[in-house]
């Protein structure tokens, strides 16, 4: 019986199989923890007198509630005392339970889904969970990775397992090649526009096809990251030589002969010929253009410059009214107030390079506030070593410390009421980036081009190579 990539990873982790009355007990290889969704889980297990079963399979970071401005006189500028106390709670919980924490002062600290792969904690064939819906990011390595709630965080802390029913599978095949100036983010937005916001609910998506294979690991992470925006808990890409090369030399990856043995195993993790998916769709990668959203759901996206479609229902009309856009007109005529480059979707080095390539020698338009937030301390170091920070600062953008920042806007970085933002993050919900904030989701290159132009702009006009539009 031919198996899918998902089947292979799932089957390796079934402790006890599901029955009509009970779900499978599924083993978790890597549990990533952050400050927002974990405190109540630690409280729960401690109230029961339980300990963390596998601190060696648990790794924590500080990212959501953390300020991205540096400490002043040794005092970090937390948005509220609650934010500070949430961070301190995780520090105390990790110390008490022997969990490694990439905390303040650690050169490893970063947004959880940037940090995990960077350190080689995420590897092909693993099960990876975190109390965070963008955990699907790690599926770019051929891991089965999904977000869980806080009760389940407690389950994993105490037992290293979860109760799970087997989800359905979907394969999304992207044929052809992406055009210059078109990125993994544009591919993700195009796929979500096709599937619809809830189109992947109940499914694990495998991304396949020539255009997916041609993405670098960071592009693959961006693609898998946004699976939840189509309702899918997990997205996966089969490991290949690109995956293996990316992992070699990472701190927590195997080394020496063990790496060779592991890599040989990883390369077996692919859907067998003839494997059957519950549903399949195919998308022409050649036809994908730089994408931007016009509504308040991530599936409300179209090529930059395309007219906004007529709303289909009251919900669509409400979205247009919230955004201040008019059906039949492109959104490229609206003045942009804020540009945000960063997040677990687009806060990695190639994302920053793509934005810097547009900004180099140019200026952020007067009246636009641009924030560039590296996804991790490692990204920050690498970017500064290349001089990207100077490119951003010289262009008039702010260069910040790593964190989730304006993506979830709970650390004091936010878009003001009524302001229009072009953001490389993952959600354009009403108020997501701040109460009353209006969000256009786009790629780093599109965000940077929009910062320069002061309106939403196709980045290909700013790139050196000739472009076949």
């Amino acid at each position: 019986m031919p198996e899918t990539l998902f089947d292979k990873v799932w089957n390796r982790h079934v402790v006890t199989p599901e029955t009509p009355d009970t779900p499978s007990v599924l083993y978790v290889d890597l549990h990533l923890v952050h400050e927002v969704t974990s405190p109540q889980a630690f409280s729960e297990i401690e109230a029961r007198g339980l300990s963390v079963r596998r601190p060696d399979r648990t790794f924590a970071t500080l990212d959501h509630s953390t300020p991205t401005l540096p400490a002043v006189d040794g005092v970090r500028p937390y948005v509220t005392p609650e934010a500070r106390s949430q961070v301190e709670r995780l520090e105390a919980n990790c110390a008490r339970h022997g969990i490694r924490l990439a905390g303040w002062g650690s050169e490893d600290r970063g947004v959880v889904h940037v940090m995990g792969p960077e350190l080689g904690l995420t590897r092909p064939g693993m099960t990876v969970v975190c109390g965070d819906s963008h955990t699907a990011t790690h599926g770019a390595f051929g891991a089965l990775a999904f977000g869980i709630g806080t009760s389940e965080v407690g389950h994993v802390l105490a037992t290293q397992c979860l109760l799970q029913r087997k989800p359905k599978t979907m394969r999304v095949t992207v044929t052809g090649r992406l055009q210059p100036g078109v990125s993994g983010k544009d591919m993700a937005l195009a796929i979500i526009a096709r599937l619809g916001f809830g189109g992947g609910t109940g499914h694990v998506i495998e991304y396949a096809g020539e255009a997916v294979r041609a993405l670098d690991m960071e592009g693959r992470m961006t693609l898998c990251n946004m699976s939840i925006e189509a309702g899918a808990r997990a997205g996966m890409i089969a490991p290949d030589p690109v995956t293996v090369a990316w992992l070699q030399g990472r701190r927590h990856a195997p080394s020496g002969e063990a790496f060779g043995r592991a890599a040989a195993d990883w390369l077996t993790l692919r859907s067998d010929p003839g494997a059957v998916f519950d549903s399949e769709i195919e998308i022409d990668g050649n036809a994908i253009r730089p994408m931007a959203t016009w509504g308040t759901t991530p599936d409300a996206g179209s090529p930059v410059g395309a007219p906004v479609p007529e709303p289909r229902d009251a919900t669509g009309a409400r979205a247009l009214a919230y955004m201040g856009f008019t059906a039949g007109e492109p959104t490229t005529g609206h003045r942009v107030d804020v540009v945000f480059v960063g997040s677990c979707t687009n806060g990695r080095l190639p994302d920053l390079r793509a934005a810097a390539d547009v900004l180099r020698g140019r200026k952020v338009s007067p009246g636009v506030r641009m924030l560039v937030v590296p996804g991790s301390e490692a990204v920050r170091r690498d970017a500064e070593a290349e001089g990207l920070d100077r490119v951003f600062i010289d262009a008039g953008a702010e260069w910040r410390l790593p964190g989730c920042s304006m993506c979830i806007a709970m650390n004091g970085d936010f878009v003001g009421p009524g302001q229009l933002a072009v953001s490389t993050s993952n959600r354009n919900f009403e108020g997501r980036q701040g109460k009353g904030a209006r969000t256009i989701l786009a790629s780093p290159a599109t965000a940077a081009a929009s910062a320069v132009a002061g309106v939403l702009t196709d980045p290909r006009a700013y790139l050196k190579e000739g472009v076949d539009a």
């Binding site: 290889d29 969704t37 949430q86 709630g149 809830g198």
Partner: protein, 196 residues
């Protein structure tokens, strides 16, 4: 551990908008809490309160008595977005014990069941019928797996069987998992070798 839930009879609150996401249910700025208590105030905060904190009189959730209306009838793709369990905590603390929609996001469903907030998916015709009469009491019978209202024929619904048992009998999920620890240890011994 959630309170057992066998039968619930209540009127409904209708929020018919599609894609009500977790940032609407509880905005992220309320997530800096380290407790799961008292989040009812934050439920749909930006729908219910002005920027200065004064209640919006027109907001439906400010006009009703939550104790009378414990069923939320929500538009499709309800609770899409984040994995924050704060969403069902906030809804439950506000007063809801069940959510009925034509489709509900996966992670929210899982979280709601663990919170004692029963998520139920029905087809559009049933949803329309319920939404037409929000002031008529509806009975949700989890043991029988049916929704009853007025003279209409009962509407069957399904809930994942283990979660249903947990809700009906007050089974403690974490306790149940702990009872599997011998199996987990045996699995781990072999698995650690393979993945070392």
């Amino acid at each position: 551990m959630p309170e057992p839930l066998q039968v619930l009879t209540s009127k409904c609150v209708v929020l018919s908008q599609a894609n009500i996401d977790t940032d609407q249910i509880i905005p992220a700025r309320f997530l800096t809490t380290t407790s799961r208590e008292g989040l009812g105030k934050a439920a749909f905060y930006d729908w219910r309160y002005e920027a200065d904190g004064s209640p919006k009189p027109e907001a439906v959730l400010n006009r009703i008595d939550p104790a009378e209306r414990r069923i939320l009838l929500a538009g499709p793709n309800f609770a899409c977005g984040s994995s924050r369990e704060h969403a069902p905590w906030a809804l439950a603390d506000y007063g809801f014990r069940a959510v009925i929609s034509t489709s509900i996001a996966d992670i929210f469903t899982s979280n709601a069941l663990k919170t004692g907030l029963l998520p139920i998916e029905v087809d559009q015709a049933v949803w329309d019928d319920l939404a037409a009469f929000p002031d008529h009491p509806v009975t949700i019978d989890l043991e029988a797996g049916e929704i009853r209202r007025g003279n209409a024929a009962p509407t069957p619904f399904t809930v994942e069987r283990f979660a249903r048992r947990c809700l009906l009998d007050g089974v403690d999920t974490l306790g149940w998992l702990q009872a599997r620890l011998p199996d987990i240890a045996a699995f781990e011994a072999a698995h650690d070798m393979e993945t070392a």
